[in-house]
Amino acid sequence: MQVTINISLKEGVLDPEGRAVETSLQSLGFHEARDVRIGKQITLSIEAEDAARAQQRAARMCESLLTNTVIEDYIIEVVEDE
């Protein structure tokens, strides 16, 4: 199974990096750019009997190491191997 985990900062958590990038976009003339937030993506493959099980294991990984749940949210996507 191919697993993609998208990690983003929770709402209300200040993202100084996102803010700096937004300022830079504005100065390039992208005045429509708003609310820039920077997250991260982790991809991995998991051996599991089905997608539900892979999803469950990935969630455990997020809770125990991959994310800091004080400030981060995560979304897991599982794609079965072809």
Partner: protein, 212 residues
């Protein structure tokens, strides 16, 4: 280690990160620096290294633990202390002296030997020292008297709060007062060629506190 040896005249025991048990010991200090490249998040990988299980056991038996800088980040990642440390608000690595005000806390070996409001000048050197916790958790830290050190306007010309930390937090203690984490480096302010000797005051108070 050098700082502790200079203060106590004795060499502290070194615990290797792969050790899984720790002999009874007065205080465990997690020093600053960097660990595992600080990949993923600062202190995240170090907080899952084998020796940390033993540190958690030591703390759960009421043992004293002090985390400095990266050591503070590690303590937060283990959950021994609440909250987290995020990127400095100014997006820059900050390396300079800071003025700290000792706070009146719940009984603690780290603060009992210091005065409420006592000012200490101790340097910081970090990129992720901006303390963050949800509002309700910050209120709990305030109510429980768990905030031990706050950045304050002192001799230094720069802003009092160097990194945007919530409630000007520079250091916190656990509810039982036995675990402390702090961003400033007391071991870099022990006199002997350092700009300040206030870190020695802090460490000495902690060492006396733990010996009681």
């Amino acid at each position: 280690m050098v700082a502790l040896e200079r203060i106590t005249g004795r060499r502290p025991a070194l615990i290797w990160h792969k050790e899984t048990s720790i002999d009874p010991i007065d205080m465990i200090i997690l020093p600053g620096g960097f660990s595992f490249g600080d990949y993923l998040r600062c202190g995240a990988l170090a907080a899952r290294s084998p020796a940390i299980e033993a540190v958690i056991d030591h703390a759960s038996r009421g043992g004293a633990v002090l985390g400095v800088c990266n050591g503070f980040q590690i303590l937060l990642e283990t959950g021994l202390l609440p909250g987290t440390l995020v990127r400095n608000a100014g997006l820059k690595f900050v390396c300079r002296e800071t003025s700290l005000a000792v706070q009146k806390t719940t009984a603690s070996l780290f603060t009992d030997g210091l005065q409420d409001g006592q000012e200490l000048t101790i340097p910081i050197a970090h990129n992720e020292g901006n303390y963050f916790a949800p509002e309700d958790q910050l209120a709990m830290l305030e109510d429980n008297g768990q905030i031990a050190l706050r950045y304050t306007k002192g001799r230094h010309p720069g802003p009092a709060n160097p990194n945007g930390a919530a409630h000007d937090i520079a250091g916190i203690i656990s509810e039982n007062g036995r675990v402390m984490g702090m961003m400033p480096h007391p071991e870099r302010a022990i006199g002997d060629g350092h700009h300040s000797a206030d870190g020695r005051i802090f460490l000495q108070a902690a060492l006396e506190g733990v010996a009681k």
